[in-house]
């Protein structure tokens, strides 16, 4: 990683923490959705189990979902989109840096700014709700690795979504579509195990599944070691694939850049 990538990530981090109010509200409302999820699933599962999850496992699943969704939604996709739509991309294109790498640095820097609140919230939830522990020390380590893959995956998906602004000239609808797909196919909304088999197949063929289902499955030991390593490999493959796809798309879209006005 070059010095300039780190500098861009640092700037994005500083910008994110410059707004204390937003930071505070994101923790507050992130925590609220976790509490709401816990209340609903406690009511549904009771002393039994659903889709192979008992109450302790479901608590662990939901807390992992809180952690991964806090990270996944912490990037500055709106800002990237606005720069394209408002024409500020003109400024970015006069800088001697690779456009995609620069945006990755900024995006991941913004995500890193949410790490303290994600860890704090997760630690508090673990202490208060006592979820199921990790299946093994190795499973815990692989879960951490799997969560780290969320950084490049989130950038890839968000960056591709933002690039569509060159065609759509508006980001709102694209953002809604991306959010819905992420929430649904990742298993953040409902665990995949509770979905019909065909929908599970669709989910496993998409990158979104690696945001929550993959780390939760590894943590809870729902997959054995070879399968866990396979999932990590799939995360790596998706990270590279999305990066390459974005590169190809950008090489075409940069020809279509239009910036009207002075």
């Amino acid at each position: 990683m070059a010095k300039v990538d780190v500098a861009l990530a640092t700037i994005a981090f500083k910008r994110k923490i410059a707004y204390k109010g937003t930071w505070f509200f994101s923790i507050l409302f992130g925590g609220f959705s976790l509490l709401a999820g816990l209340a609903v699933w406690n009511h549904l599962i009771g002393d039994g189990e659903m889709g192979g999850y008992d109450w302790d496992a479901m608590k662990a699943y939901l807390i992992i979902g809180f952690l991964t969704s806090t990270l996944a939604w912490a990037g500055s996709d709106w800002e990237m989109a606005n720069r394209i739509l408002d024409g500020l991309i003109a400024i970015d294109l006069t800088k001697p840096v690779d456009f995609q790498r620069a945006r990755a640095g900024e995006f991941i820097g913004g995500m890193v700014a949410s790490v303290p609140s994600a860890i704090l919230g997760t630690a508090a939830a673990v202490l208060v709700f006592r979820p199921a522990p990790p299946d093994s020390v190795l499973a815990a380590a692989l879960t951490v690795a799997s969560i780290l893959f969320i950084f490049p995956l989130a950038f890839g998906i968000n960056y591709l979504a933002v690039l569509t602004c060159f065609v759509t000239q508006r980001y709102l609808g694209v953002q809604w579509a991306r959010d819905s797909m992420l929430a649904f196919f990742s298993g953040m909304m409902v665990p995949l195990a509770l979905m019909p088999a065909w929908l599970q197949t669709v989910s496993w063929s998409l990158p979104f599944v690696h945001f929550t289902t993959t780390p939760a499955s590894i943590y809870l030991g729902r997959v054995d070691l070879p399968a866990a390593l396979g999932l990590l490999a799939a995360q790596a493959a998706w990270s590279v694939g999305l990066w390459v796809l974005a590169r190809l798309l950008w090489s075409q879209l940069v020809k279509k850049v239009t910036v009207h006005g002075g």
Binding site: A7, I11, L88, T94, V97, G262
Partner: protein, 332 residues
């Protein structure tokens, strides 16, 4: 060899062709129609190293689009651009190392961080050494009073401060070729004067400059050559002095006489000149064709015969020439 060369540079855009009203919106949703318009039409431009060129034209003439083509932001629809031998669009990153760009209407500062942070990030981007960075910041501080607002958040700056900070951002890496698009827009006179003095110094040091502005004082004070563009094509390209000499043939002398000026009598006595009453009763404005009379001749004759109490020469105005060029009254 030119530092910048554009040949038959053309940019066309597609605009939605949408009828007004609800019906028009529905029709456009069902059947999209577009119109193609040409923003820049086969422009040829060559700039030598060290030149300071004003690129002027009325709103919508294609000035900013040309700057975006020359800086590599936009891809030409037709024609070629070479800046220091490179295609600025396909070799964007290499080109960006050697150019500085300022868009007066778009800031390159990170809005929610101190100015200093933006400059430090640019230092990393351009690979500026610590020593060079310090020296340049010290110089910008001396000429632009940058120090007073370096620790301020960009969003708290006044427009003048923001523009000075943006100028520092555009020049922190000592670019060889600088593009300034409306650098004095919205600024008060004192800040404008300061920026112009700074730009003059930049040009004196050998930096090549392309400046677009609606403020003709920027052009006269900073540039030696002017390119006038209208409807995407070049209407004039040459030295500013030549433009004045070629198109400004009528000059004026203001005379203040000892007593009230009798304009009809003076017009009868000196029919070769134009005569008009001035602002005061004793003031009269004499106009003459500079290709027929020298200023010395006119002044010599008038002072000898009218013995005015005071007189002043009206400097030829480039503004009037450009206004007439825009209006199509003058041709190349």
């Amino acid at each position: 060899m030119p530092i910048l060369e554009a040949r038959s540079l053309t940019k066309t855009f597609r605009r939605p062709d949408k009828a007004p009203g609800f019906k028009g919106a529905l029709k456009h949703l069902a059947q999209r129609r577009y119109k193609t318009y040409t923003a820049v039409d086969a422009i040829d431009l060559a700039i030598e190293p060290g030149e300071s060129v004003a690129y002027v034209g009325p709103n919508g003439a294609g000035k900013s689009t040309t700057v975006k083509l020359l800086t590599g932001i936009l891809r030409p629809s037709e024609g070629t651009v070479r800046v220091m031998g490179r295609d600025p669009h396909t070799e964007r990153i290499a080109n960006a190392h050697d150019i500085g760009v300022l868009f007066g209407q778009r800031t390159q500062l990170w809005w929610d961080l101190p100015v200093e942070e933006s400059l430090k990030l640019l230092k990393h981007m351009y690979g500026v050494s610590d020593a060079d960075y310090k020296a340049r910041i010290a110089k910008f501080d001396e000429l632009l009073d940058l120090g007073e607002f370096m620790p301020s958040l960009a969003r708290t700056l006044s427009l003048g401060q923001r523009m000075r900070a943006d100028l520092a951002c555009a020049l922190i890496h000592a670019p060889k070729m600088v593009y300034l698009d409306e650098p004095t827009i919205g600024l008060d006179i004192s800040v404008k004067d300061r920026l112009r003095a700074f730009l003059r110094e930049l040009v004196d040091e050998g930096t090549t400059l392309l400046l677009t502005s609606h403020d003709l004082a920027d052009i006269e004070e900073v540039c030696e050559r002017i390119v006038v563009i209208d409807k995407g094509t070049v209407a004039y390209d040459g030295p500013i002095q030549q433009l004045k000499a070629h198109y400004i043939t009528t000059k004026a002398v203001n005379l203040i006489l000892e007593g009230p000026a009798d304009v009809p009598a003076l017009a009868e006595k000196f029919p070769e000149y134009g005569w008009a009453a001035g602002e005061a009763p004793s003031e009269v404005v004499v106009t003459y064709e500079s290709n027929r009379f020298t200023t010395a001749e006119v002044l010599g004759g008038l002072t000898a015969q009218l013995a005015p109490r005071d007189l002043s020469l009206s400097e030829p105005s480039i503004e009037d020439v450009i206004r007439r060029l825009y209006a199509g009254e003058l041709t190349r």
